[in-house]
């Protein structure tokens, strides 16, 4: 009797374990399916959020990215997108919280640190922003990915310049120049940043580099049609180009509103050019061309120092001056 009961109890327990195991595998299959649906839904919400961002609806995008994040927490793209949307809609605190939560699990992630830097920058927290920029810059991903590294560094430089920290910006720029991508756009961007940082010589070097790297770039295309000393062009054309270039510089100097010593320099350069154009007959003799070109370069350089970057034609005139041996004043 006792043994029968024992056998019965064991059989019952075995049956229960069997049921538990069956339900376990069934539940696991169901969980896998549910996870698949969640991942698919998250991707759909993410796409909707991107579409909302494209049409400029940051609030709708925020809601969509939130839904994506809630359905798939493991994909950090969604949280990053949410943070960007929150930042765009002005909710900086929430954006930072979302990013910090993400950073808990990936403190060395370049993207997260970069986004945090942008958020801190938008908040006006310079030390935090610089710290996050540097974290992004020295993250393993940035070490391996040159494009990412260059992008982060240029953003850091722009941020430092925007906050008046020229010294640190210049040192970062030197590093950026050493690590620069071999393309004209990067060289022009670097040149612009160098000029913003007050290092005009290096700025012009970057413009020259841009022309050499990409003969089809905008600046490069402007040079052969604006250079009065270009080879195999008729004298009439040389005179026309010199006159046109002088007008460009005059226009640039006239529009360069500044104060103090810079204003004096701008005024002086403008007067020199005005005197040159009124007193000198614009002929194609080498002296006139060389003198005119020197004045154009000096005028552009003065405007660059006083009023920052100009238009592509201004950059092209600077490069023309440098190509024909003009020295930084």
């Amino acid at each position: 009797m006792d043994r029968t009961r024992l056998r019965h109890e064991i059989a019952q327990l075995a049956a229960l374990i069997g049921i538990a195991l069956s339900v376990f595998f069934l539940t696991r299959m169901f969980a896998t399916y549910t996870r698949t649906v969640r991942v698919r839904d998250a991707a759909e919400w993410y796409n909707r959020g991107q579409a909302a961002l494209t049409r400029g609806d940051a609030l709708a995008a925020t809601e969509d990215f939130r839904r994506a994040t809630a359905r798939n927490r493991s994909d950090r793209r969604y949280t990053l997108a949410l943070a960007r949307a929150l930042e765009t809609s002005g909710n900086l605190d929430a954006a930072e919280r979302a990013l910090l939560a993400l950073r808990e699990f990936a403190p060395e992630d370049a993207d997260i640190n970069f986004e945090l830097a942008q958020t801190a920058g938008a908040r006006g927290d310079v030390p935090d922003a610089v710290r996050y920029y540097r974290n992004a810059l020295y993250a393993p991903a940035a070490a391996a990915d040159a494009d990412l590294r260059r992008h982060v560094r240029l953003q850091l430089v722009a941020f430092l310049l925007a906050h008046g920290d020229r010294t640190r910006a210049q040192s970062e720029l030197l590093a950026a120049a050493a690590d620069a991508a071999p393309d004209a756009d990067s060289a022009v961007a670097l040149g612009d940043l160098f000029s913003e940082a007050g290092d005009f010589g290096r700025a012009e070097e970057q413009y020259v580099r841009a022309v050499r790297l990409a003969p089809q770039s905008e600046i490069a295309r402007l040079i052969p049609v604006n250079d009065p000393l270009a080879r195999r062009i008729p004298n009439v054309e040389r005179e026309r180009r010199l006159g046109a270039d002088l007008q460009v510089v005059q226009h640039r100097l006239a529009g360069c509103a500044t104060t103090g010593r810079a204003a004096d320099a701008v005024r002086s350069a403008a007067e020199q050019i005005a005197r040159f154009t009124s007193e000198t007959a614009l002929r194609s003799d080498p002296d006139t061309l060389n003198d005119g070109l020197a004045l154009i370069y000096e005028g552009e350089h003065t405007a660059l120092e006083a009023c920052g970057n100009g238009t592509p034609i201004d950059r092209a005139l600077l490069v023309i001056g440098r190509l024909h041996g003009a020295a930084v004043p």
Binding site: L16, T27, V37, A70, D93, A98
Partner: protein, 451 residues
């Protein structure tokens, strides 16, 4: 002498069987809770789709409630509401007897009601499902009635542990709420079941916490006053919830019995109408709790959601649908706390924590005020955050909320709900403590239907 030795042997064997059953019940209760959670999610996804239209938002709860109303009246009359009071009644008054159809009916009705958008929680039903399965298993293996009774809180703890991913809080809930005694001798069994259940749950769903909560702490000692204010507000909101729930449910119960079949549909119509304008109050709503905990919601939104969720839950529950008040109390608390947090964070003359910290404390505060399980509340928040730092403010707010709620509503809401169904739990609860509970000679009787 020989007889005594045989009795001893039998007792030992019964004990061994009980231990083995504790593990099995923990695993099965955990699995049922996980399955229940997944089924609700998939049903909701199936019924509403990814972004439902206004018509669909209105029709789904209305139509589903017509169906569940019929089933709840004709097939599963004993699975309305939360399931926690019914489980308590079964434990204290019926030797743990819960009909076999109850866990299955609760599963089906809970999935349909919560999945169709009713503002209700899944934890209460999980508790009843776990307890019901435990009771069924206990009877199937022919345990003595006292042992079947002991299995009920074990199943409840296992289910709650898996539903919340909070094993310690689940044990405390079983002791504090179901048994009503934190020193109950069933502590070991509930712990074993809870651990077994959580292991199963994590092996299926992974060890992801229910909410993503940043580390919060008390930033300034003066903040304790702000948390005290939160405790008072939490107490008042808890009171409003309990009073509102009991009043409206009383109203529904006074309606002719023939209307029982359409009462859930009345709730469905109201919820459908609310969902058109405020889909955020749908179902369990943990997505929005998570947003409040992370400070992603605005003040106006949180105040609105707090009021609407409170009203929606009262309507859903009172009209006799199947679903719990655990999750809604956390939702309402997070919104109330978050709103107070925004005000404190904006106007306090001292440094304060982010609004999310207040949402977290608010969550525990409402839980303590409504469910009246303060220790469960504290440990639940601790298990969710894995951080001790917020516990002091939480305890301050909890105690105040509990005191206010208890003062103005002396009978706990679960007991009051049972009382509305003609079940007086109090004398049995006090006279027959679980420590003394043994095989009972009283006949098994079914707990009257609670709706």
């Amino acid at each position: 002498m020989k007889l005594s030795a045989t009795a001893q042997q039998l007792l030992q064997r019964e004990h061994r069987v009980f231990i083995a059953l504790t593990i099995v019940v923990g695993v099965i209760a955990g699995l049922s809770a996980v399955l229940f959670t997944l089924a609700i999610e998939q049903t909701n996804r199936l019924l509403f789709g990814l972004s439902p239209s206004a018509v669909r938002l209105f029709l789904v709860p209305t139509v589903a409630s017509i169906g569940t109303g019929i089933l709840l009246s004709k097939v599963f009359p004993d699975v309305r509401g939360s399931g926690v009071p019914q489980t308590e009644a079964a434990y204290h008054l019926a030797d743990g007897f819960i009909r076999t159809r109850v866990p299955f009916g609760k599963f089906l009705m809970g999935v349909l009601c919560i999945g169709s958008g009713h503002s209700m929680g899944r934890e209460g039903p999980s508790v009843q499902i776990g307890a019901g399965l435990a009771s069924t298993i206990g009877r199937w293996v022919r345990l003595p009635p006292g042992r079947v009774r002991d299995l009920v809180p074990v199943g409840a703890a296992g289910a709650l542990a898996a539903a919340f991913n909070t094993p310690v809080a689940a044990v405390l809930f079983a002791l504090e709420e179901i048994i009503g005694d934190l020193n109950a001798p069933l502590l070991g069994s509930t712990v074993v079941a809870s651990v077994a259940s959580v292991i199963v749950e994590r092996s299926i769903l992974g060890n992801e916490p229910l909410f993503r909560v940043p580390p919060y702490r008390l930033v300034h000692p003066a903040e304790l006053f702000a948390y005290a204010v939160l405790g008072v507000v939490g107490g008042v909101v808890s009171l409003a919830f309990c009073k509102g729930l009991l009043a409206l449910r009383g109203l529904f119960l006074r309606l002719p019995a023939a209307t029982r079949v359409i009462q859930p549909a009345i709730g469905g119509v109201v919820i459908g109408a609310l969902l058109i304008y405020f889909p955020a109050i749908m179902g369990v709503g943990y997505e929005y709790v998570d947003e409040a905990l992370n400070g992603e919601l605005l003040l106006r939104g949180m105040v609105l959601l707090c009021a609407l969720k409170l009203a929606a839950t009262i309507v859903s529950y009172s009209s006799g649908n199947a679903g719990g008040i655990f999750a809604p109390s956390l939702y309402i608390g997070a919104m109330a706390g978050g709103a107070i947090g925004v005000v404190v964070h904006t106007y306090a003359p001292f440094p304060t924590a982010d609004p999310g910290a207040y949402a977290l404390v608010g969550m525990g505060t409402l839980f303590a005020g409504i469910i009246r399980a303060p220790m469960t509340s504290v440990f639940m928040v601790f298990e969710i955050t894995q951080d001790y730092q917020i516990l002091v403010p939480l305890m301050v707010a909890n105690m105040l909320s509990l005191a206010i709620s208890r003062h103005f509503q002396p009978v706990p809401v679960y007991h009051a709900l049972l009382a509305q169904d003609g079940i007086d739990l109090k004398p049995a609860h006090k006279a027959e403590g679980p420590a003394q509970a043994g095989p009972s000679s009283t006949s098994k009787y079914e707990v009257p239907t609670t709706s």
